[in-house]
């Protein structure tokens, strides 16, 4: 199966691991990620104001390209996923917004949110299936206690993201189980790490990140996985004393396609 793929800015720079392992693992699972040509940065955060148009156009372009290829659009980074899915939702449901955007783009045919947007995790769950993933695992991570860190972007707003229950999510936990490890449930998993406010108030980010790590550890976690480069940055920078890794890295390890050499 082929899907369109939107990597986003960070995955081509500071989070190359997240990107590389996503590619490799997808191949093993029979999915080819076709990178959107000339993709532009999603903007990092979705501006909720109804009259903010221009900053959302890059997402619309990516969505349109996937639509033209009749493919679903897959993202890995939580932020890209959040922005693109919210933009797509607005294109579907906010007529003023979609009309303005379509006029602005002034290309043939309007776009009204037809493309299906999947987060990589959703792709694993809904397109691959965790059962099938389990079959493909060659290095089961047995006995490892892993805490899934959702942060804020993956699940909320739940009415738009429609990924999982926003307060009691199971998708990453089931992912961890499929890899043979043991998920650790902890309440702070869907609380914010401090996000972009770390440029403004590093101490706020520190407080939040520490609360997340402390809670995960208290519930027995030996490792935290995340889908978001900013989450990883905040947790690590603020002194996480257990490993914080991208979920794709863990996936690649379990599927046996992780290379030991650091590129």
């Amino acid at each position: 199966m082929k899907v369109s793929y939107f990597p986003g800015c960070t995955l081509k720079n500071k989070a190359k691991d997240l990107d590389m392992y996503a590619y490799k693992s997808a191949e093993v699972l029979g999915i080819t990620l076709e990178e959107i040509e000339n993709w532009q940065c999603c903007g990092g955060v979705f501006t909720t104001a109804k009259n903010e148009i221009a900053t959302k156009l890059s997402s619309v372009r990516a969505l349109k390209e996937a639509y033209a290829k009749e493919q679903s659009l897959v993202t890995v980074c939580s932020a890209c996923h959040n922005v693109i899915k919210q933009t797509n939702y607005a294109m579907q449901n906010d007529k003023d917004f979609s009309d303005t955007v379509n006029r602005y783009m002034a290309e043939d045919g309007g776009y009204f949110g037809e493309t299906e947007v999947y987060h990589y995790l959703e792709m694993l769950r809904d397109l691959v299936g965790f059962d099938k993933l389990k079959e493909k695992v060659v290095n089961p991570l047995a006995g490892k206690k892993i805490a899934a860190y959702y942060g804020c972007l993956l699940l909320r707003p739940s009415g738009v993201m429609k990924m999982d229950d926003p307060e009691n999510p199971t998708i990453m936990e089931n992912f961890i189980k499929a890899l043979g490890a043991e998920p650790v449930i902890y309440a702070q998993r869907n609380e914010c790490c401090g996000g972009y406010v770390s440029v403004e108030s590093p101490e706020l980010a520190k407080k939040n990140s520490n609360a997340v790590v402390r809670n995960a550890k208290a519930q027995g976690a030996e490792m935290i996985i995340t889908a978001c480069p900013l989450c990883k940055y905040n947790l690590v920078k603020n002194g996480a004393d257990i490993p914080v890794v991208y979920f794709t890295e863990l996936l690649a390890e379990a599927l046996g396609v992780k290379e030991d050499t650091n590129e």
């Binding site: 989070a15 804020c152 909320r156 707003p157 609380e191 996000g195 406010v197 440029v199 108030s201 900013l230």
Partner: protein, 128 residues
């Protein structure tokens, strides 16, 4: 500044109906940036509704909201306070020369691991 006009503009642009608020305070209870804020999420809702917007425009609280959407998700009345905070922030930074963050500020923020996402997001939130 005509408060009534600004109030309506904020409500229109955020899509939030502050009248739905039943003043339970769950938004402020769930806010992870609460202690950093001078005005808290529930105050944004009630102050916008009453047209008392000027103090909000001046407040540092605008730049402390994480846009984590916890208040939006957990509000029992579907009020969506974070969207209102965003609308007020945009009214503040959309004014000429009122960008909170400029490109000149960036080098000082960088460290070896700073993800691009951080800068992009901060720029989106703190400047036009």
């Amino acid at each position: 500044m005509n408060n009534q006009y600004l109030r309506e503009e904020l409500i229109r642009q955020s899509g939030v109906n502050p009248k739905k608020c039943m003043k339970c305070g769950k938004c402020s209870a769930t806010c992870p940036a609460y202690d950093e804020m001078e005005y808290h999420p529930h105050q944004f809702v009630s102050m916008v509704e009453s047209g008392d917007i000027e103090p909000l425009l001046q407040s540092e609280s605008l730049y402390k909201c994480l846009s984590c959407f916890a208040c939006i998700e957990r509000c029992p009345r579907g009020v969506e306070p974070a969207k209102l905070v965003e609308a007020v922030r945009l009214s503040a930074i959309r004014k000429q020369g009122e960008n909170r963050m400029t490109a000149n500020d960036v080098p000082a923020l960088l460290d070896e691991d700073t993800p691009q996402q951080l800068l992009v997001s901060a720029f989106r939130k703190y400047s036009k």
